[in-house]
């Protein structure tokens, strides 16, 4: 048990160093390697963060839905912890997507917010995430909470194609695949990879934390500390 724990700690430490190095390299590339955009200037660099967190937000929603389906199929609380961890990080990324998108829009479109299809769909995704946490918070019983929130997470999956296809279906003004300098494309790719790595690492840590909290609660109930 002691040996396994130490290996796990070393793995997490190594992964943390790896992700930190990736993020540092990504930061260097965003500010020093990527060329300055002619029209928008340095403000355009926010796109590297915006696209990466938007990707992680959608991936979080998909992961939340798929792990929720796995929970309903297996009834193993580990899948519920994965679903919650993915949902929390997805919600955080959806929030960052809206914030960075708003900053970019202020420079590009001269407004903080507009009811553009993709922006609206992203806000809907954020609201669905928020609803998922409200449902979780309103149910005491752990099994019932896991079951009902799993159903909601599966329903939330339906919003993912809406966010992705919003600009194509509803003819919005949000850029879909803009023309880019090859160096900009490389930085964008590195940024997506770095933030995805950070997302996975944080999801693992959060899932471990949720499992630990569940074990502590179970032990407290066994010993009669709590009801």
């Amino acid at each position: 048990m002691k040996r396994r724990l130490s290996i796990s700690t070393i793995s997490i430490l190594a992964a943390s160093f790896g992700v930190s190095a990736l993020l540092a390299a990504c930061g260097w590339m965003i500010f020093l390697f990527a060329p300055r955009e002619i029209t928008m200037g340095d403000v355009q660099r926010i796109v590297y963060l915006h696209v990466a967190v938007a990707w992680c937000g959608l991936a979080g929603c998909v992961a939340m839905g798929l792990t929720a389906a796995a929970y309903l199929a297996r009834r193993n609380s580990v899948w519920d912890h994965w679903s919650q961890a993915a949902g929390e990080l997805g919600w955080l990324c959806a929030t960052l997507t809206l914030a960075t998108g708003s900053l970019w829009a202020h420079e590009a479109w001269n407004t903080w917010w507009t009811w553009e299809p993709r922006l609206t769909a992203s806000l809907v995704l954020w609201t669905v995430f928020a609803g998922y946490f409200l449902v979780r918070a309103s149910i005491e019983d752990a099994q019932r909470r896991a079951r009902l929130s799993a159903v909601l997470a599966i329903l939330a999956l339906a919003d993912v194609p809406l966010v992705i296809m919003a600009t194509r279906w509803f003819r919005g003004i949000h850029p879909v695949t803009p023309e880019m300098d090859p160096r900009m494309r490389i930085v964008l790719l590195i940024s997506i990879v770095s933030f995805s790595a950070l997302f996975i690492l944080l999801a693992i840590l959060r899932k471990e934390q949720l499992e630990l909290a569940a074990r502590v609660l179970s032990r407290e109930r066994q010993t009669g500390v709590v009801n």
Binding site: T120, V128, G131, L134, R144, V151, L155, A158, L162
Partner: protein, 227 residues
Amino acid sequence: MALSHAAKTWWWLVHKDLLRELRAPRAWPAMLILSLALAMVISVQIDSPSDQHLELAGGMFWLAAFFAGTVALDRSFSGEHEQACWQGLLLYPVGPGTLFLAKLAANFLAFCALDVVLVPAFTLLSGVSLFAQPGPFLATALVANLGFSAVGTLVSALTSGLSQRHGLLVLLLFPLVLPVVLGAVQATRAMLVGDFSSWWRWIQLLSCFAAVFVALGTLIFDYLVED
């Protein structure tokens, strides 16, 4: 044989819901009166029909219809929980899929009744004749109501036993049902301005959405009615 039994059971469940509403009306009167009040408030914004009003009328009509429709959705399952009717219903040899389809049909009929009252009222108050093209409007109303009742029935079942069900129902329902709201509004707008190629695209989107949620609901309803 099994299909015939399921169809018979489905019909009896729909019949039960309609009969209960007929003998002790609770949801429908409140829903209809709320829809009229909303139509009145909204129509104040439309003084005389013009091209701009034709663009807006669809949005106003469907917002009134969907907001009023939440009253029927709210009662759909909460009525069953009173006096342990729900437990009694679950004791019958009824498949969860059949139960979902029966509740969906009862909600769908409630929304159709709502449209029957709201369309003439809205036309009278706003001066915009929604029924000028009966075929396209009926098709729009049927697929929009089907999509709305499919998502609404699922969300209503999910929130029915929760402490903050009223707030959660609306909070979860509207983000999830946004494609239906958008589709219904845009299809009605296209129909009113005579753009039938656009109308047909929105009807296809609405039909796909309704089909996905009816199928999803039939499959996952089992997990909502376990307790």
